[in-house]
């Protein structure tokens, strides 16, 4: 099967959807001729022209707010927020309008749009304002759908579905995944939102992860295998909707749960996963749940500090061993 980079899979999904549906358009900062700060929109301007692919002022609130208004009037905007960190500027439009339009209009109208939160996460020595994992700022807002793909295959199939849904989707892309290659079949396919993917089957330990930490978890699982621990790695793919059934079925099988994300542990989405398992499958657990995530500090800049900040394979292995020691 052909291989392509995560960023190119995103670009291909955008191109296919724009060819299919004339109401789909793309706007953001430097997404047109420049092709996006992380090169995920290269070529779209040339194919679709400035009516459908255009740069906006450096105004994230207006960018996302305008996406809401355009969506309510029948368009299907894809807006790129250049760094996921900048979502804070657009939070009003996301939390108070995009998320609430369907409910507050009694179903008269919704805001079918995709907000691509580009380049989340650490790893590029970008400092505290360009490196955050911000998903937990959004997971407590009813009305939103939150997708965080970890592979090129998932990115393409999930982005295409996101563009077609009737509701606003936060599509959150990790900056260290853009150049990662993966198998992507020729031709069209769609992936359902809200269905987790078991990236590695195992019988002893359930590792729940998403985004970039899926690969870290898979590497840890391979190491654990050498110690005789057969870990199952579940990639949530979307935090909302949350595929509780896949998590619970795995935990009932393994009796052990480890949750891995890049965001700080405190208040992170891992707490929600742990709560779901505690409420619905506590009796199946043979050991306390553990979480791996970032420490309770902003993302630091210097290589020694940033490297220490981001959860690594060794951190996951160590936590897994602690779970299994019980």
């Amino acid at each position: 099967m052909r291989e392509m980079m995560y960023r190119d899979a995103i670009c291909e999904a955008l191109a296919e959807e724009m060819r299919r549906d004339a109401s789909v358009f793309l706007m953001g900062e430097d997404v047109a001729e420049h092709g996006g700060n992380f090169r995920a929109t290269v070529g779209l301007y040339n194919e679709f022209g400035q009516q459908r692919v255009f740069d906006t002022p450096l105004s994230e609130s207006a960018l996302v707010g305008a996406g809401v208004g355009a969506a309510m009037m029948g368009m299907r905007p894809v807006v790129e927020v250049m760094f996921a960190d900048f979502v804070t500027i657009a939070m009003d439009a996301i939390v108070n309008h995009a998320a609430k339009v369907a409910y507050m209009s009694g179903g008269e109208v919704s805001a079918p749009m995709v907000i691509r939160l580009a380049a989340y996460g650490a790893g590029r020595r970008s400092g505290a304002h360009h490196s955050q994992s911000i998903e937990s700022l959004l997971t407590n807002v009813p009305g939103l759908t939150i997708v965080m793909p970890s592979t090129a295959y998932d990115a393409k199939g999930l982005l295409k579905t996101s563009i077609r849904t009737q509701n606003p989707v936060l599509f959150i892309e990790h900056k260290m995944l853009y150049a990662k290659k993966g198998e992507v079949p020729e031709g069209e396919y769609l992936l359902p939102i809200g269905v987790a993917d078991i990236k590695r089957a195992g019988a002893d330990l359930t590792i729940v992860s998403y985004g970039r930490m899926v690969d870290v978890s898979l590497a840890a699982a391979r190491t654990l295998e050498k110690d005789g621990v057969n870990a199952e790695v579940i990639d949530l793919r979307s935090l909302q909707p949350l595929d509780e059934e896949t998590i619970l079925a795995s935990v009932r099988k393994t009796g052990h749960l480890l949750i891995v994300h890049e965001a700080p542990v405190r208040g992170g989405f891992g707490g929600e996963v742990a709560a779901v398992v505690a409420e619905k499958a506590l009796g199946y657990l043979d050991a306390p749940i553990r979480r791996v995530g970032a420490p309770w500090v902003p993302v630091p800049f210097s290589p020694t500090l940033e490297d220490a900040y981001v959860p690594k394979e060794a951190d996951v292995v160590k936590a897994a061993q602690a779970v299994m020691a019980n």
């Binding site: 609130s61 305008a66 309510m72 009037m73 439009a93 409910y103 109208v109 009737q166």
Partner: protein
């Protein structure tokens, strides 16, 4: 003042009826507050009605308006039934979104009411986005976005106006300058001389006008609408006005305002001014005035009775509709 519009007498009388109905709506609503029944906190627009009526009269059905807290008249001109509005104010199932939203923040795009907001000024980018859709769809429809002087101090004002200017979007920004942001007078939240001149900084026209002159507002909006429909971009209209009521009902009464100031503005009340104009043109006499007033009273009697007699939404309503159904035949979440 000389007007240039070609409005016929029936239009003028209809605008008068709408002014009277809006005033009656607000007076009755404020009067009901505190006596039980009214759930939505009233933010009375008395004194400012000419802006909503003048701006919305002459709009097309497809044109979308985004009312401020004090654009009650926009709902009325756009044809949102007073029964529906009042049921909503009473929290009843017959109100907006079957009781899930206030009328201040209601959405009724079929009638041309796009959105209201509790985050003052946050609707400006949404208005701009609707105008962007119209441009991309090559429609002649326009958007009229109402907000107050307080909202003009939000970052969204600057982001939204610049965005609209860059893409030459068909949107009219109607700034209802009533001199107060809640309780804070203009001279405490603004060091400039006027808001209209800000538009020049973004590269489009900004005009300050008498917001208590319903025909002046009508004419300014019609000029801006023609400009917008022709693809020439946005206009900012700063409409000078005054509100008689407090920011909202149920607050410490008038603790910051000089009664003389209110009295001075009541001399410029938009309704008697328009009446005088109609009388001068021979279009209105005392009997007509009484008839229009009686009709407004009767309509509000009906609306209040409907609201009082309507049921509250069943609790099951709460859990429906946070997400639009995944139905591929919907456009913008709805059938059109």
């Amino acid at each position: 003042m000389e007007y240039t519009n070609k409005l016929e007498s029936r239009d003028l009388l209809e605008m008068y009826r709408l002014l009277m109905l809006t005033r009656e709506f607000e007076d009755r609503l404020c009067g009901l507050w505190g006596r039980g029944g009214v759930v939505e906190l009233p933010h009375g627009s008395q004194g400012q009605e000419a802006i909503a009526i003048g701006a919305c009269y002459g709009l097309r059905v497809q044109d979308q308006v985004l009312p401020s807290l004090r654009t009650r008249g926009a709902f009325i001109v756009k044809g949102v039934p007073t029964t529906l509005q009042m049921a909503g104010i009473f929290g009843k199932v017959g109100g907006p979104a079957r009781g899930k939203s206030t009328t201040h923040h209601m959405t009724d795009p079929v009638r041309g009411v796009l959105l209201g907001t509790g985050l003052i000024g946050s609707d400006i980018p949404v208005a701009v986005g609707a105008a962007l859709a119209f441009k991309l769809q090559k429609k002649e429809s326009i958007v009229v976005n109402f907000f107050g002087d307080g909202a003009a101090q939000r970052g969204d004002f600057h982001e939204g106006l610049n965005f609209a200017a860059v893409f030459k979007l068909p949107v009219i920004f109607v700034l209802e300058n009533n001199g107060y942001a809640e309780y804070t007078p203009l001279n405490k939240h603004f060091a400039g001389t006027n808001f209209a001149c800000r538009a020049e900084g973004y590269g489009f026209p900004g005009i300050r006008l008498d917001g208590n002159d319903v025909l002046a507002v009508y004419e300014a909006v019609q000029v801006a609408a023609a400009r917008a429909r022709a693809g020439e971009g946005p206009t900012l209209l700063e409409c000078m006005t005054y509100r008689y009521r407090n920011h909202c009902e149920g607050q410490t009464p008038e603790y910051m305002r000089d009664p003389a100031e209110i009295a001075e503005w009541q001399k410029k009340d938009p309704i008697p001014r328009f009446e005088a104009y109609l009388v001068e043109r021979g279009l209105l006499n005392e009997a007509d005035r009484s008839r229009v007033y009686a009709a407004a009273q009767a309509e509000m009697d009906t609306a209040i009775r409907y609201a009082e007699e309507s049921p509250f939404p069943p609790v099951e309503e709460m859990s429906t509709g946070a997400y639009a159904p995944e139905d591929p035949t919907l456009v913008g979440g709805r059938r059109i």
